[in-house]
């Protein structure tokens, strides 16, 4: 699992690559704790290169969302694969997260 961060128009765009599962979730949580410490009010997670998420991964994303909202920030997700998106739909997490189809859509709506 790798996470690269780029600053685009004041938004922290985080590119995740690999599986977000029980093995990588602690690493993902730690990486986002660092990003959140910068108190960036706008965080976008691009999941284009994430092919697999399990319930630990979903839980980690919920924790990250709570942390970002905790200091008044906004978090969006974009570029979910159809299978990953289906997990958000099945679990109704699509109601909790702001999910956009593309990075451009997401950046334009912060």
């Amino acid at each position: 699992m790798q996470i690269k961060v780029e600053d685009k128009s004041g938004i922290k765009v985080c590119y995740a690559e690999g599986d977000i599962d029980i093995n990588s979730s602690p690493q993902v949580k730690k990486a986002f704790d660092k990003i959140i410490q910068t108190k960036s009010g706008k965080v976008l997670i691009n999941l284009e290169k994430v092919g697999y998420i399990d319930s630990s991964g979903l839980a980690t994303l919920v924790e990250i969302l709570k942390n970002v909202k905790g200091f008044g920030g906004k978090l969006k997700l974009c570029n979910l694969s159809s299978k990953v998106r289906s997990l958000f739909e099945i679990t109704k997490l699509e109601k909790l997260f702001d999910i956009k189809d593309t990075e451009t859509d997401a950046i334009g709506t912060f």
Binding site: D54, S55, S56, L58, T60, V62, E63, T91
Partner: protein, 136 residues
Amino acid sequence: MSDRINRKIEIPSDISHIKKVSNEIVKGLKQVGIVETLQFDIRLVVEEAVRNAIEHGNCYDKDLPVKILYSIDRSKCVIEIEDQGKGFDVTRVPDPRKQENLVKAGGRGVFLIRKLMDRVEYNEIGNKVKITKYFK
């Protein structure tokens, strides 16, 4: 392509072994020619169920095994996962889709197993789950 696969796996209660189980089952699914979307669902369900067995059933006691028995053919995949714990009442697992549970970090594993598979059966005490996915 093989027509039918029947195998047993036994792992210690250590989460580092979960991938060994899912990798082997996904390999079997590929051998039988099952499409990737179903491989994804079955991988997810296996990993969730084995994790539950390790975490909630065997309480991470590495001396206690998790036993997996699976069969795959072109019509279905049947997987049994058994731990050595006291079991649990699956009807008491809260629905993670309810508004009050949405922000909770955990509680989606059992739900995903039930949602993604066609049949999910627990034994009486709840330490063994049998999951079935039909392909046709």
